[in-house]
């Protein structure tokens, strides 16, 4: 884990992540950032400490009389010995689709997060120097950079950086020179291209 990231989720987002209140799409994108950012990982740990304290203070609810017996039987039958399960990449539980061309210099692959409320998750790969079309958001667009970098009016976003955009923001990102930029994106409601040409091309760009 590095501390290279300079753009982070808001505290509210990290609190929601720790509490388990984010939808699956946003949770995945936030987890990709947290796995790459020691500062946010620590912040999440602080919130989890609060959750743990509340758990200790909770009023216990009685269990069925055979609950412990059942649990002991389950761990007795358990074929997975303690310690066998290891931390996995949050992406491991999802299928990644093939890279598909979606526009000049830009490829996209699907991430098999079940689509709910018009939210979808995908990865984008854009060649160095690519100017992505000027766009506005219909809902939110949360992005975590995995490789390479892009730039827009709010700064430069490199590996691990997190970009939280909503419908109040307009974006005109440019991919930085060097290596292709690969991001994971949770997008709600799609985007709206701002230029006349963009609007003509919109049906072709399957974002």
């Amino acid at each position: 884990m590095t501390n290279a990231a300079t753009h982070h989720p808001t505290d509210e987002t990290l609190a929601g992540y720790a509490a388990g209140t984010l939808d699956e799409a946003r949770r995945l994108v936030v987890s990709m950032h947290v796995a790459r950012c020691a500062a946010c990982d620590l912040q999440v740990a602080r919130y989890e400490a609060v959750g743990g304290a509340l758990l200790e203070l909770a009023t216990a609810v009685p269990l069925r009389s055979d609950a412990l017996e059942n649990a002991l039987r389950q761990i007795g039958d358990d074929t997975v010995p303690p310690g066998a399960s290891s931390e996995r990449d949050p992406l491991d539980r999802y299928e990644l689709g093939p890279w598909r061309w979606v526009g000049p210099g830009v490829h996209q692959r699907s991430v098999s997060v079940p689509e709910a409320d018009g939210i979808k998750v995908f990865m984008l790969k854009a060649a160095p120097g690519t100017k992505l079309p000027h766009h506005k958001h219909i809902g939110y667009e949360w992005t975590c950079v995995l490789e390479g970098a892009f730039e827009h009016q709010f700064g430069r976003f490199g590996p691990g950086d997190f970009d939280e955009a909503d419908e109040t923001m307009e974006h005109k990102p440019t991919v930085c020179e060097g290596v292709p930029c690969i991001c994971i994106v949770a997008l709600q409601g799609g985007i709206r291209l701002q230029s006349r040409l963009g609007r003509l091309l919109q049906p072709l760009i399957r974002l």
């Binding site: 209140t21 400490a49 743990g52």
Partner: protein
């Protein structure tokens, strides 16, 4: 002297988890189970599971604790924070999260407030984890309430605003103030 407080001092969950990892100690598991499963059941019920389902989810959480015991790092997190994070994952993995109407929670009512601010608690539980608990117990009621609705009951900030019929900004500022206070009192929360 409060019996519950005395029990809390003797109960050392971090050691129990370490013992599970080292020797697959079923006695240690049973002790953890008896302490956490009833509290986890409460948490799952607050998160919208019915009694039976909540108990299954509490069982699943303990089973994951058994399997993941070797991953627990007492230097990074307290036992209760680690158990909480596993329970949170169980609830997001296995409960289909439906946006619960404020009406649903109103019907449930709020759990009875325990008398948290006991001097014995401050004296007895000097270890860090106890300090978090003791400090939480000193939060003003309205801050403790939003913190609990958020981290224990798993409500989004907007849902808390609906439930309490207060502006979203008020929810956010109460949570911020509570966390600020915890940080002021505790330095690094671990």
């Amino acid at each position: 002297m409060n019996v519950y407080c005395t029990a809390m001092v003797e109960f050392d969950p971090a050691r129990l988890i370490t013992r599970i990892a080292a020797t697959q100690d079923r006695g240690a598991f049973a002790e953890l189970f008896m302490h956490y499963a009833p509290r986890l059941k409460a948490m799952m019920m607050r998160r919208g599971a019915n009694t039976d389902r909540a108990e299954d989810l509490a069982q699943e959480t303990l089973l994951r604790i058994w399997r993941k015991a070797a991953q627990f790092d007492p230097g990074r997190a307290s036992a209760s924070a680690w158990v909480y994070s596993i329970a949170r994952n169980v609830s997001v993995d296995l409960m289909r999260r439906e946006t619960r109407a404020a009406a649903w929670l109103k019907e449930q009512g709020e759990p009875e407030e325990e008398d948290l601010d006991e001097p014995e608690l401050h004296l007895l539980v000097a270890e860090r984890e106890g300090l978090v608990r003791a400090t939480i117990a000193t939060l003003p009621h309205e801050q403790l309430r939003v913190i609990r609705l958020s981290f224990f009951d798993g409500l989004a900030h907007s849902e808390i605003a609906d439930l309490l019929e207060i502006p979203l900004g008020t929810v956010k500022s109460r949570i911020r103030l509570a966390l600020q206070r915890l940080r002021d009192r505790l330095g690094e929360l671990k």
